[in-house]
């Protein structure tokens, strides 16, 4: 009876795999440990080795075949003395269904079998006591063996034992992700947030932008928003401040931190003294900062120490949202996309392009009235775009 080689399950969540490459051909002799094929999953490429000896009788799945279900027979091995006639009977029985009969010989994945992770007895003992699954732990010992320090590291990362059952993939935390997590957790825990929203009509702003860009500029809506927010903060200096324990620090200049999405997180490059910069200068600098932020080439002083933040998700079509304050600042303006919406004008319905803006403010520093004043000033600038050109 030929031996069935089946698609191995390389991870607990794997349901199908791609047969990337055969490493043997029909007729080749194989012995235990020989590499038979390379299997790709969405996570990794792994080699599968034979656990049996014999001769490759038939390859049932062509190279490059995707979505081969786990346990489907992919090849047949002839044992010593068997002839090829034995193959047909078995091969005919092979549909796309996993074989239910005989004793299939699952090919053994070469790296890290999911069912049994190499781990020291002490590591197993510690994991058992802590309710940790070894599946979730990366080993740092010889050959990837899980040893005591890996359990200790895992316990530090996750003090609460995970609920068993739910399958997940462990994603390593980058330094940026850690900073984001720490800062924003601190913000939500220590800063009494409150939120104010209003809509700005931006039709005139869009006209002004079109005219400017027809004249050869490349000004974005966000550049107008930066400029307007900077001027509003200059006009309402009470909002351009931070809570410093027993005093409030009111900043001398408006240093606007602008959130830029980058691979794996976000950074907030700062436009220094934004209130004294013209629209064209703001636009050029913002483009440069955003470009270099995406390339990961910002110097630390370029993203540290802003006095107020701006987060604009308009380019993603978000209508409105609340942002989390970036400590130690006292406020952040969340700007949505401009959408044509019905408005009442002189008692009649009209259509205007509205941009919803939400201020998140630290109530220790900014009271409702001050926040409202800031938002009002901002809207005035946005709705009279020529004032932004001065």
């Amino acid at each position: 009876m030929p031996i069935r080689i089946t698609m191995p399950q390389l991870s607990p969540t794997m349901e199908t795999g791609t047969l990337a490459r055969w490493m043997v051909r029909e007729g080749d002799g194989v012995s235990s440990g020989d590499i038979l094929a390379e299997i790709e999953t969405d996570k990794a490429t792994m080699e599968v080795e034979s656990v049996d000896e014999g001769r490759v009788g038939r390859l049932l799945v062509a190279e490059g075949t995707e979505n081969v279900p786990v346990n489907q027979t992919i090849a047949l091995l002839l044992e010593e003395g068997e002839d090829e006639g034995a193959l047909d009977a078995v091969a005919q029985g092979e549909g796309s269904e996993p074989p239910g009969t005989a004793d299939p010989a699952p090919a053994r994945p070469r790296a890290e079998p999911p069912s049994r992770r190499a781990a020291s007895p002490l590591a197993r003992s510690m994991a058992r006591q802590a309710g940790l699954s070894l599946e979730d732990i990366a080993g740092s010992g010889p050959g990837g063996r899980i040893i005591r320090r890996d359990i200790e590291a895992a316990l530090e990362r996750a003090p609460a034992p995970p609920v068993s059952g739910a399958a997940f993939e462990e994603v390593r935390i980058t330094g940026m992700r850690r900073v984001i997590a720490e800062r924003l957790q601190e913000a939500k825990r220590t800063i009494p947030h409150f939120y104010l929203s209003l809509d700005c009509e931006i039709d005139r702003l869009l006209d002004a932008r079109r005219d400017l860009n027809n004249g050869g500029h490349r000004i974005s809506v966000n550049d107008f928003v930066i400029r307007a927010l900077a001027l509003a903060l200059r006009d309402v200096p009470d909002a351009n401040a931070k809570w410093a324990g027993d005093v409030i620090h009111r900043y001398a200049s408006v240093d606007l931190a602008v959130a830029v999405a980058v691979d794996g997180g976000l950074v907030t490059p700062v436009i220094r003294d934004a209130a004294s910069r013209g629209l064209a200068a703001v636009s050029l600098e913002m483009r440069d900062l955003a470009e270099r932020a995406r390339q990961g080439r910002l110097a630390p002083e370029e993203y540290r120490g802003g006095s107020f933040s701006l987060s604009n998700l308009g380019m993603y079509g978000i209508r409105e949202f609340d942002a989390v304050i970036n400590p130690p600042q006292a406020g952040i303006l969340a700007v949505g996309a401009g959408y044509p919406r019905p408005v009442a004008r002189d008692g009649a319905l009209a259509v205007a392009t509205l941009m919803s803006c939400t201020l998140s403010a630290d109530h220790r520093v900014i009271d409702g009235a001050v926040g409202a004043k800031l938002l009002g000033a901002f809207r005035t600038y946005i709705e009279s775009p020529l004032s932004l050109l001065i």
């Binding site: 007895p121 590591a123 510690m126």
Partner: protein, 458 residues
């Protein structure tokens, strides 16, 4: 004046230095080794090996003296001191020659001269100047001296004179009861000398588990030694034909010879460390866990890099330092708590990891197992039924925190627990391990069982 360039220069040819040199050569580096005296260092020439040869003589002597216990009739046993020392020296010389061969086989350039740093990446050794991107300092340690006491080599000995006696002195005072002190005490006692051991700490063998110390104390006393723990030596001076040792304000003890064994201090002088970033504290060079000093390109290993001052620790550090320099994957720093210590006095002592007290101090809730030699068939058959195997486990995880043994051949048993610790075994695997019968090793398994109330033979 010659100038040569290498990938690595090792200063010192002891068990740290020569092993580092060979490992580096295996990894394809061009290596020069600078040694001022003997390849193999103190360990091989004036330490571990020649003293083991002497202690073997002492063991044969002891057995001969107790031949009647074994049903043998042996006439009076005499000592030919020159032949005893000759055998010991021959063992050392044979091994030193072996090191020379190993270095040559691995194409390590050996420079026999005193070496010192001579600017960044440069070593001066006699007429030769050696340049290398990496330098490993492995110059070892020497006997520590007592303030105001000079080991003159005739009446007051250091280890060096103590291992080449012209004759066995009638009486010996050993100052210091660490491994070196008790080994000499044991040797001279077995050879027939009156032996007194003075120790400043409250117990002899102060680095060992307290129970082991106490058992050694009782055993040494039964053998006729005089032990003075908690005693400080204030003066040593000639007292007629003998040497007088004043302890505290009080009595003067006297003996034919005094052996100083009060620890070692690193050979940090004359290395050219001034003006480099290499820091020296408490008599040793400060290193990080990769054995790197404060000066880029310079590592330090072995006794020079601090305690425990053990040859096997030095050798392993040599390998770690070299593999780190070579940038190999998976290099592991040495866990200094997993280094076994062996003392070849009679009875032998061997230990690894935390003592029971240290384990408790470290916050562990412990389970302790003890198994006596009295319960072991092989020990009884050997006529050596005094001793104990003690194991200390973390009560929660089953981690083997430490093992402490005293008795016949325990220095040959401790590696079993060293492997157990390196593999992070718990009591469960040790209980599943089948120890062969009849061997002394059965006591290791029984001690583990005893920690969990399951010992069979006690």
């Amino acid at each position: 004046m010659s100038l040569s360039r290498h990938d690595l220069v090792v200063l010192g040819g002891g068990p740290g230095g020569y092993v580092a040199a060979i490992r580096a050569a295996q990894l394809g580096m061009s290596v020069a080794l600078v040694e001022r005296e003997h390849l193999g260092g103190i360990c091989l020439n004036w330490g571990c090996i020649p003293t083991k040869a002497l202690l073997r003589t002492a063991e044969v002597m002891r057995l001969a003296r107790h031949a009647g216990d074994f049903g043998l009739e042996v006439a009076a046993v005499g000592v030919n001191a020159a032949a005893v020392v000759g055998r010991s020296r021959a063992a050392a010389e044979r091994l030193s020659g072996g090191i020379r061969h190993l270095l040559s086989k691995n194409r390590v350039t050996v420079v026999e001269s005193e070496g010192r740093l001579d600017g960044p990446g440069r070593v001066r050794a006699g007429d030769a100047t050696l340049e290398a991107a990496h330098i490993i300092l492995a110059t070892g340690a020497r006997a520590r001296e007592l303030p105001g006491v000079v080991a003159d080599g005739t009446d007051v000995w250091s280890y060096r004179e103590a291992m080449v006696p012209d004759a066995v002195p009638r009486s010996v005072i050993v100052i210091g009861s660490g491994a070196i002190g008790v080994e000499f005490a044991s040797f001279y006692r077995d050879m027939g000398a009156e032996v007194t051991v003075i120790e400043v700490a409250e117990r002899i063998l102060p680095a060992e588990d307290e129970e082991i110390s106490a058992m050694a104390h009782r055993s040494f006393e039964r053998q006729g030694m005089t032990l003075c723990p908690g005693t400080r030596v204030t003066r040593i001076e000639a007292a007629g034909s003998a040497t007088g040792v004043t302890v505290g304000d009080g009595p003067v003890l006297s003996a034919d010879r005094v052996i100083l064994a009060v620890g070692v201090v690193g050979n940090t002088e004359n290395l050219g460390l001034d003006g480099t970033g290499v820091a020296v504290a408490d008599g040793h060079v400060e290193v990080n866990r990769w054995l790197e000093t404060g000066e880029a390109g310079i590592s330090a290993i072995g006794d020079l890099a601090g305690p425990p001052c053990l040859a096997h620790k030095a050798s392993h550090e040599g390998i770690v330092a070299v593999e780190r320099i070579a940038g190999l994957d998976h290099v592991e720093p040495l866990d200094r708590n997993s280094i076994a210590a062996c003392t070849y006095c009679h009875p032998q002592i061997a230990s690894i990891g935390h003592s029971e007290a240290a384990a408790r101090d470290a916050g562990h809730e412990v389970r302790v197992g003890r198994f006596p030699f009295l319960g072991n068939g092989k020990a009884i058959a050997m006529g050596d039924d005094q001793g104990m195997v003690k194991t200390v486990f973390d009560a929660g995880t089953g981690e083997l925190l430490g093992a402490h043994m005293i008795g016949a051949e325990v220095t040959e048993l401790i590696h079993g627990f060293a492997v157990a610790r390196a593999l992070e075994t718990t009591e469960a695997e040790l209980m599943q391990t089948v120890f062969p019968h009849p061997t002394l090793s059965e006591m290791m398994g029984e001690s583990v069982l005893a920690a969990y109330g399951r010992a069979i033979h006690v």
